[in-house]
């Protein structure tokens, strides 16, 4: 590694001025937040977002020429991005590149952003061609992580990350901020292990799988990158009990312990998280059943049926799960109604598919890793998406207009 300079403080602000337009804004934003976290997870650095005014690090995208940047870009290919060394703080992406996430096509915004942030933090180019800080883009890597040379470089500048971060530096706290909480992300799970905390058919028909502090999308062509849960849903902890999206209300409810979080897309609803009072804590799973437009919550061998838009009388719940969902296991890990109209239950490394009469179909349980996570055989690594799979891709419709009734 080569060191080009350093910031004289470890608590830095950043501002996303604009990001490449080839990605949905929430995907681009999540990619950039993850890029910051690669560095903050190995060095005692914190990054706090500001929405306006000056920031130490400023990220933006521009075309061949910009009135605000003396370095021009050269169209698609060749130069992808550039950044200033400390304590200047500019990070620029070439607007004409095909910026992508979760695919081998185009240029991965998350990896390039992490590289340029390395420059903004003071690292020069590494001679290790597999290092993040190598000058040439090595392509998309689904399970990307920093190279030991990258870690050694940033720690040479700022030291190693310790459990407690000192408060020795002065910070400007007068601006409206969104805090990017520095957390220990914990071990990155292996999607091929097959066991899950929660699954959810989310907005726009995207299937999300949750395990530990991470979440990833499941598609017919492969898996998306693993993100920290809090990088997508700000304020949400990891190790969730259950997750469910309702096309009826557009609400996503996450459950953990005795708390429930509500989001619309990636924005938390005001007043959440709330305490779960009317159903038991430590739920096992949750699903939305489009036939009756109700949310089902599972714990142990019982379930609660909840109408999001009406005051539900829970006095007759929990009811035995087997009375309605025949042939499914007690204490499921996860559950969801999926794009094919079937209900799925997950437990351990296996899953069950239910027919329209909510009876487990013959031939189940089957292996989750193989059929959902694109793993070639149980407990192998995830493929790049060209295996056959039961996962198909269509889009769910939503209906109804939200009216707030609460579950607490």
């Amino acid at each position: 590694y080569l060191l080009l300079g350093r910031w004289r403080k470890k608590h830095l602000t950043f501002r996303i001025v604009n990001l490449p337009s080839t990605l949905p804004s929430y995907t681009a934003r999540a990619a950039v937040l993850q890029a910051f976290q690669y560095w903050s997870s190995v060095a005692p650095l914190t990054f706090r977002e500001v929405k306006a005014g000056w920031a130490d690090i400023r990220l933006s995208s521009h075309g061949r020429h910009s009135p605000h940047c003396s370095s021009s870009f050269d169209g698609p290919g060749r130069v992808l991005a550039h950044a200033d060394i400390p304590e200047l703080g500019s990070v620029h992406f070439d607007e004409e590149e095909l910026w992508t996430e979760g695919t081998y096509r185009g240029v991965n915004l998350r990896i390039i952003a992490a590289h340029e942030l390395g420059h903004a933090l003071g690292l020069g180019h590494s001679r290790y061609t597999q290092a993040l800080m190598a000058p040439v883009y090595a392509g998309y890597r689904p399970y990307f992580k920093l190279h030991p040379d990258d870690v050694a470089g940033i720690q040479a500048l700022y030291g190693k990350k310790s459990p407690e971060i000192g408060e020795e530096e002065e910070e400007d706290t007068t601006l409206p901020t969104t805090t990017l909480v520095p957390t220990e992300p914990g071990p990155m799970p292996d999607p091929c292990s097959g066991d899950l905390d929660a699954v959810m058919l989310g907005p726009r028909g995207k299937t999300y799988a949750f395990k530990g502090n991470y979440v990833w999308t499941v598609t017919a062509s492969g898996l998306g990158p693993l993100f920290q849960v809090s990088a997508l849903w700000e304020g949400l902890p990891g190790n969730l009990d259950a997750a469910v999206y309702s096309p009826r209300t557009q609400w996503i409810h996450f459950f953990k312990g005795d708390k429930v979080w509500r989001y619309t897309n990636f924005k938390m609803s005001p007043g959440f998280p709330k305490k779960l009072n009317r159903v038991g804590p430590n739920l096992d799973a949750a699903l939305y059943w489009p036939i009756n437009k109700k949310v089902f919550l599972f714990k142990g061998s019982g379930y609660w049926q909840w109408d999001e838009l009406a005051t539900t009388d829970f006095s007759h719940y929990p009811k035995p799960t087997k009375g309605l969902f025949t042939g499914v296991p007690d204490q499921p890990s996860a559950a969801m109604s999926w794009l094919d109209g079937r209900v799925y239950f997950f437990k351990g490394k296996q899953y069950w598919r239910l027919n329209q009469q909510l009876q487990a179909e013959k031939g189940f349980p089957r292996d989750t890793a193989h059929n959902w996570m694109h793993c070639r055989s149980p407990n192998t690594t995830a493929s790049d998406g060209d295996t056959d799979s039961s996962v198909t891709g269509t889009t769910l419709n939503s209906d109804g207009s939200p009216r707030d009734t609460i579950l607490d």
Partner: protein, 80 residues
């Protein structure tokens, strides 16, 4: 393989842009062949390519790959 003048010019531009080749403050505008050879060797070594000092296909292909716009530090003169 015979390297065309356009390809050679592009390679020199690349070496110059990314810090492998330094334009002298005084003297002629053209680089001496040995300077270009030395810069190519540095680039090949940094890119984990066979070090020949010649503009071969692998070196040209490497120069066409997408990359960061910042200079590389792999030139001895730059490091000094």
């Amino acid at each position: 393989r015979v390297v065309g003048p356009g390809e050679k010019e592009a390679a020199v531009d690349y070496l110059l842009q990314y810090g492998y080749l330094q334009r002298p403050l005084e003297g002629p505008d053209n680089f001496r062949p040995e300077d270009v050879t030395e810069a190519l060797r540095a680039f090949q070594e940094a890119s984990e390519l066979p070090v020949s000092g010649r503009l071969d296909d692998a070196t040209s292909a490497r120069m066409r790959q997408p990359r960061c716009g910042l200079e590389d530090p792999f030139n001895e003169k730059t490091l000094k």
